[in-house]
Symmetry: C2
Subunit: 144 residues, 2 copies
DNA sequence: CTACTTGCAAATGCTTTGCAGGAGA
DNA sequence: TCTCCTGCAAAGCATTTGCAAGTAG
């Protein structure tokens, strides 16, 4: 599964005449291994020897080509994860205590009805949908 | 409707031995009138003559007593709105272009099934739910 | 009088950017 | 060799905080 993802990212970058450099591959690998949204600091920790500015800059680049998305959590840190298309469609459990973010999926029937309802609301308000989020905000086991 | 809300806010503050001062009332009034989440700067603009630091400090105080919640939008600005209980349960349309945030509601049946599914997912992951969010991320009419 | 509040100014801290050197094609 | 990428250091900018004066109860 991993090679496919790297190929896809390389392709996305190529569309914008950018390269899939070793640094970028390290960042993608880190996010892939995590399986949950990571803060810039967590990405940096996982991708040793990549300076902070390169982490931020490359995450921004990967975001622009559509390989990475920013995730708004319940704390002050922006988090990053691989975009849908590279992974599956999922949602997040956000901990108000420690900021932790965990992935989860809705039952297909619920997902479908949410998708439909959200799209309808968007249409009514003149929005063009790009994606939707269903987040739960609460407290994880260790923060209760 | 307005007086009730002010009374409720005053009560929440009193529980924490804090006062419902004129400045705080101006902030609440501004958010009430807006009917959508406001950035700190927008709150300040609506509540003339309140210095920036007082806006931030009082929004933080109001958040702590449960009268206000922070809303994560699609841009870099945190937004604030009156908490549920003071208003109704609703969700947000977020514009990636200009950051605009618009309220919307799900059909009751969809809302109920989402609530159920989210709660189940939380339980499975050991999270205690405080609230959930259903956001649409896209582009508003003028940013398409 | 004893807290809680306010306002100014300065600090904090995540994130972004300028610039010079390095590397891929 | 031309463009993209990297790394360091410095800047940006929303948000927070210290402190002294003000005010409600």
């Amino acid at each position: 599964m991993a090679p496919e993802i790297h190929d896809t990212v390389a392709g996305l970058l190529r569309e914008f005449e950018q390269r899939y450099t070793p640094v970028r591959r390290r960042l993608v690998t880190a996010m892939l291994a995590a399986g949950r949204p990571l803060t810039a600091a967590e990405v940096q920790a996982a991708a040793r020897d990549v300076p902070q500015s390169s982490v931020y800059r490359n995450l921004a680049d990967l975001e622009q080509v559509g390989a990475v998305v920013r995730v708004a959590a319940a704390d002050e840190f922006t988090r990053f994860e691989l975009a849908e298309g590279l992974t599956d469609h999922h949602h997040h459990l956000l901990c108000r205590g420690c900021g932790k973010v965990v992935d989860f999926q809705l039952p297909p029937a619920v997902e479908a009805s949410v998708a439909r309802a959200v799209l309808a609301a968007a249409r009514r308000a003149g929005f063009r949908e790009e994606t939707h989020r269903v987040d739960l905000v609460g407290r994880c086991r260790s923060c209760q």
